[in-house]
């Protein structure tokens, strides 16, 4: 591959992409920055590495005529002059959820957006996913509820929240004042619960979208989680879809044998986007070894420890759905963001890392912009899907029946 790359580096010749990366969902997901694409493009200094093109830059969803050409420049020094388009639409089917950047904060780690006060400038985040919200108030699980685990943590809060009405009354007026969209995470124990919460959130100023937490026991199906059953996952998505015009994101659970049929069922049921992944089921043992540590015994593992699993799930899901996928799972630095973009995610959520480093999400926005500029991209979209398989039609990528 290296040798071939050198061969095509002919000065003055536009480099042909080696392949067409699979980015069909990215195409629909990214909103082209209208003013930038119509305005005359500034001369783009490119580093030789970017100019030779490994295929990643040509995979830009918004490819402009100028982007493949080699412009002469001194390189590097004018990076900061470039404006990189970081905007993304997470509901391209309805054109309703445009974020200024693809860095979100994950549900449960950022409360209702107000807790970090002056420490975090929420206006610079792509979006905020609030704490899981249910129809009725919930007191949550017994303590202890959190503990640290190798390269991660375990939590079992048990969806403590004041109920959807209180959330709307207390927080929506605050959210309304922000530019940053707030995505309300919704949980329930029956399809009717989900639909009712969604119905009450519909049309509330300050609520930009709904994210369905389907990793809850379905009381109507004997406590089986919605997330592990394609029919149930599709049914709850469809029910919510019917009662609201808000963009609907559905958060996938990794605790399943094969995520792909579930992801497809949710897409078919009318979801606007998928988020992946929720926490992995796990337990910890108390220091005295006489009982499990958590009050609820079972908890959800998150943090850097789950990143490879999240990458795999996003990689699989991105090949079988056309709607945007938002990745979550162990993002602690820019490299993690780029990894998730490479396997097809259009945006990422930062969760556990916020606890150690509350300013990380805002910093990642700047770093992503710089990384795109340094690579000579006009949009971060060029990073999306570069690691997906070349031929999306092969069984290893598409077929549910085949699994290595």
């Amino acid at each position: 591959v290296k040798a071939r790359r050198r061969v095509v580096t002919t000065p003055g010749r536009a480099v042909k992409p080696k392949r067409t990366p699979t980015i069909r969902r990215a195409k629909s997901a990214i909103v082209p920055a209208t003013p930038a694409s119509t305005a005359p493009r500034p001369t783009v200094p490119r580093s030789p590495a970017a100019g030779t093109g490994t295929g990643s830059s040509s995979g830009a969803a918004i490819s402009s005529p100028g982007s493949t050409g080699r412009a002469s420049g001194t390189g590097g020094s004018t990076r900061s002059d470039r404006t990189v388009d970081l905007s993304v639409d997470l509901a391209p089917r309805r054109g309703g959820l445009v974020l200024a950047n693809p860095i979100l904060v994950a549900s449960g780690t950022f409360g209702y957006g107000i807790e970090y006060g002056d420490v975090v400038d929420v206006e610079r985040l792509g979006a905020i996913c609030c704490k899981g919200t249910t129809l009725k108030p919930r007191v949550g699980n017994m303590t202890p509820r959190v503990t640290e685990t190798p390269a991660g943590m375990l939590n079992s809060i048990g969806l403590q929240n004041p109920g959807v009405d209180a959330v709307i009354e207390r927080y929506a007026p605050i959210w309304q004042r922000w530019q940053t969209p707030v995505i309300v995470n919704v949980a329930g124990e029956s399809i009717a619960d989900y639909a009712e919460v969604a119905r009450r959130l519909d049309g509330v100023p300050g609520v930009a979208a709904i994210e369905l937490n389907i990793s809850c026991p379905n009381v109507g199906k004997g406590g089986l989680q919605f997330a592990i059953d394609a029919d149930a996952a599709g049914a709850v998505t469809a029910a919510v879809r019917r009662v609201t015009d808000l963009p609907v994101l559905v958060k996938l659970s990794p605790n399943v044998a094969d995520i792909r049929p579930i992801a497809r069922a949710i897409e078919d049921a009318g979801a606007d986007a998928l988020t992946a992944i929720n926490t992995l089921s796990g337990i910890a043992v108390a220091p005295d070894r006489r009982r499990p540590l958590l009050g609820n015994v079972f908890g959800g593992v998150s943090g850097p420890a789950v990143k490879p699993i999240a990458l795999r799930v996003v990689y699989e899901v991105c090949q079988v759905v056309d709607i945007p996928v938002v990745a979550i799972g162990g993002v602690t630095e820019l490299a993690d963001v780029l990894d998730f973009l490479a396997v097809g995610a259009v945006a990422v959520q930062v969760g556990t890392a916020v606890f150690a480093d509350p300013t990380l999400p805002v910093r990642l926005v700047g770093e992503l912009s710089s990384a795109a500029a340094a690579a000579g991209h006009d949009s971060y979209a060029s990073f999306i899907g570069t690691a997906l398989p070349r031929q999306p039609g092969t069984p290893s990528a598409k077929g549910v029946e085949y699994r290595p």
């Binding site: 807790e115 007191v139 390269a151 403590q160």
Partner: protein, 288 residues
């Protein structure tokens, strides 16, 4: 004072008792405006592999020099990591967090009760009380003499009474055994320590007013108003305030990891409504 992220430089670190460390940091931004009972959430280094911050009570705060100290026991990887720090190393601290102890302006006699490492939770209150001209008795309980907090680290004005489980120093028995002797003397009591100790103290505190025959004289200001859980007034009016401990995630009230059950049936966040609660706000027998 609102919380902020501060970079603090370690100036001194020593093992004051077996497995217990006292570390001093230069952090003027945290020293000013901090009150006894509040805490900081400290991040271990990026390379440590630890994904959660660690909460520490302010042990002492020196406004003049901008030095704050924390006191902790090595219980796991996190605290082990902290002991390996050298002078000059800097740590990322989030604080001040939580709500402080509230001392009624009329209280002259303060009873402080600490169990083991709980001393770290009430230590700063002794400084504040003495500064304000109040009398302080500190009851301290430990397993044995080797774990007893050195009196040299306390202000001279504090009357220091020790109990040890094995009788190797001071009273032979629990620190809670010492409390009834001071019940009448104390205007307010403040405690930090293991859960069973706090529960025992809460039991002792209920009905104290009736036992002592204390009459409530004068016009009760705002007497008809229900006392809000977590409010400064609720703590100021209580005889016993406790500093609670719980596994903590974010420490700003976002993750709801560190709750304790209140008498109203709503879990209260130790990091936000606490860590200091009036003892009668906590549902001690709820099993949480």
């Amino acid at each position: 004072v609102t919380m902020r992220l501060v970079s603090a430089e370690l100036v001194d670190s020593r093992e004051i008792l077996p497995g217990q460390w006292l570390q001093a940091f230069h952090a003027p931004a945290l020293a000013s405006g901090t009150r006894a009972g509040q805490f900081i959430h400290v991040r271990a280094g990026d390379w440590s592999g630890l994904v959660l911050r660690r909460p520490f009570s302010f042990n002492t705060v020196d406004l003049g020099t901008g030095i704050i100290t924390i006191h902790f026991r090595t219980v796991g990887r996190g605290t082990e990591w902290f002991t390996r720090l050298r002078a000059g190393d800097t740590l990322d601290m989030l604080g001040p967090l939580g709500r402080p102890f509230e001392v009624d302006s009329r209280s002259r006699h303060l009873l402080l009760v600490a169990g083991g490492l709980g001393i770290a939770g009430v230590r700063m209150l002794a400084d504040e009380a003495i500064r304000d001209g109040r009398q302080v008795v500190l009851l301290f309980g430990a397993a044995s003499a080797r774990d007893v907090y050195p009196s040299s680290l306390l202000p001279d004005e504090v009357e220091y009474v020790v109990a040890t489980d094995d009788g190797s120093l001071g009273h032979h028995g629990f620190v809670t055994d010492l409390v009834p002797a001071y019940e009448a003397w104390a205007d307010q009591a403040f405690a930090c320590g293991p859960g069973p100790m706090l529960r025992a103290l809460a039991r002792l505190a209920t009905g104290r007013r009736e036992r002592l025959g204390v009459a409530k004289l004068g016009r009760k200001r705002g007497g008809g108003r229900p006392i809000q859980i977590g409010s400064p007034r609720a703590r100021r009016k209580a005889f016993l305030q406790v500093s609670m401990e719980q596994n903590m995630g974010c420490a700003v009230g976002a993750c709801l990891g560190c709750v304790v059950m209140s008498v109203t049936g709503t879990p209260q966040r130790v990091c936000r409504e606490g860590p200091v609660f009036a003892s009668d706000e906590i549902a001690w027998e709820s099993g949480w």
